[in-house]
Amino acid sequence: MRGLPAPPPERRLPGHGRRREELLRMIGQEQQRGGLKRRWGLPLGVAAAVSATGVVAAMAFSGGAAKTADGAGVGPGAGGATTATAAAPTTGATTVPGAPAPTGGPDLVAACKLALAGKDDRTATVIGGTTPAPIDPKYCEPTQTTAPDGKQIEPTDPVMTEPAPVALPAEQAAAVLASCAPSGGPWQPVIAVKTAVATANVDSMVIGTNAKHEYVFCDGLGNAGHADQSPSALTMATIRNGNSHLKEYDGGTDSSDRKNYLMYNWGLVGPEVARVTVSYGTEKREAPARLVGGAYLLTVSTPLLNYTHPPVGYVHAYAADGTKLYDTPLG
């Protein structure tokens, strides 16, 4: 096309074979766990016993919205951290070749016991019960915990930690905002909290707004703020990738402390949205985001897993009567 500079020539994906292998290993683990959790509705503890996966713990803080932009954004109902296991049965189906029909937990456990014992489950019987459907033993085996290079492989279901939000001191929130907000001020903080985990790049997040109802999102480190959105000040009309109800602007991760992923989602919502939640990866559990003055923010942390990617957050918006208005579209 005339006027269009040509991009550089294409390159092969480095380490294609290794990445393929890693991808298939990861989805195999998900298949194993997801299949168990979804199809048989087993409590995670039982699933963990079968697949030796880690327990997913979630610590959620309240999404109660303050009526005013109070700087900290920690309004009534913020509450302390709570812990819950993500054990709720979920819907959806993942078909595993060689796995039994979804007839219930006991059949699966029995089938796995037989399969792992090396018995021909089509001829074996279960005392006091019926013969379970055959299952491929590979779907019952404990998850591999050691990589070929000897490194420990952590389970792919990470521990999500979402501590109760800690408000930034007003002076620090103002300093972070002042150092990252564009012209068009004065800017007032709407939400200003410490992140779920402090990394080398980020230890706080501040959302600010001005008289024109433009918003800026700053990640802070100490008193310094950084904003890299474009355009620098956002309105509902300019935010990308949204719909009439919710404009999810951004989300991402930071793993710069090499121990944890810091994961966050933030964006703007219309007045009809009363609650915003975020779910991660294949988990259906939804953690409430902080929602103040039309802006929402959620930060969680999870351990840095050597061989896995952090789960991606999916954003959901609800009306006051609980009606779901929006799910993050994919693609």
Binding site: P5, H16, G252, L330
Partner: protein, 191 residues
């Protein structure tokens, strides 16, 4: 050879190897698309795996209506990028690159490769600056139709819009680029 559609159907039934074959077919295209969107090879490398992981997780939600899975995968790539902040992703990618070591390479080759990649990234950043004058939706059709090589129908699938919309966006992008950026190509030709 099995079609993408056949492989996809098998993947929906839980066949990981079928999904692996789709990865073999399309990973490089996804990788290069991500590079052209991010101007960062490292980030593209990191995100490629993420795109396929997303695709696996959502495979049951998608019925391929085309022979190729690529348009949908590029759509997933765009969705993944829109939820990503580059700076933090780069930090993540750096850690992952440190953890998952690349295959060994001779030092000289490696240095050349690094230099070439830096050149690529600089060039791609220039292209981005040039394209910044286009509205985002017009940039997307340029990226998909002109760079990723999708036809207009496939680009429509990737973007979730009508074919006519792709045509009109592409036409507007061409006009705008011809008038606004003509000086760039002239300077390149003169170089």
């Amino acid at each position: 050879m099995a079609s993408d559609r056949e492989l996809w159907a098998r993947a929906v039934d839980g066949d990981r190897e079928a999904f692996g074959e789709l990865f073999d077919r399309h990973a490089t295209a996804v990788y290069n698309h991500l590079f052209r969107r991010t101007a960062d090879w490292g980030e593209a490398e990191d995100l490629t795996s993420t795109v396929f992981l997303h695709a696996w997780r959502r495979r049951a939600d998608v019925v391929l209506d085309r022979d190729s899975a690529l348009p949908w995968l590029l759509g997933v790539a765009n969705g993944t990028l829109s939820n990503t902040r580059r700076r933090l992703r780069r930090a993540q990618a750096l850690v992952q690159r440190l953890v998952i070591q690349d295959e060994p390479r001779a030092d000289a080759d490696h240095a050349d490769d690094v230099a070439a990649r830096v050149d690529d990234q600089r060039r791609m950043s220039d292209v981005h600056r040039a394209l910044a004058r286009l509205p985002r939706h017009e940039r997307e059709v340029v990226e998909l139709c002109l760079w990723a090589g999708l036809d207009q129908r496939a680009a429509a699938t990737a973007l979730g819009v009508a074919v006519g919309t792709v045509k009109s966006r592409l036409s507007r992008a061409r006009r705008r680029l011809s008038s606004d950026l003509g000086h760039l190509i002239e300077s390149e030709e003169g170089a």
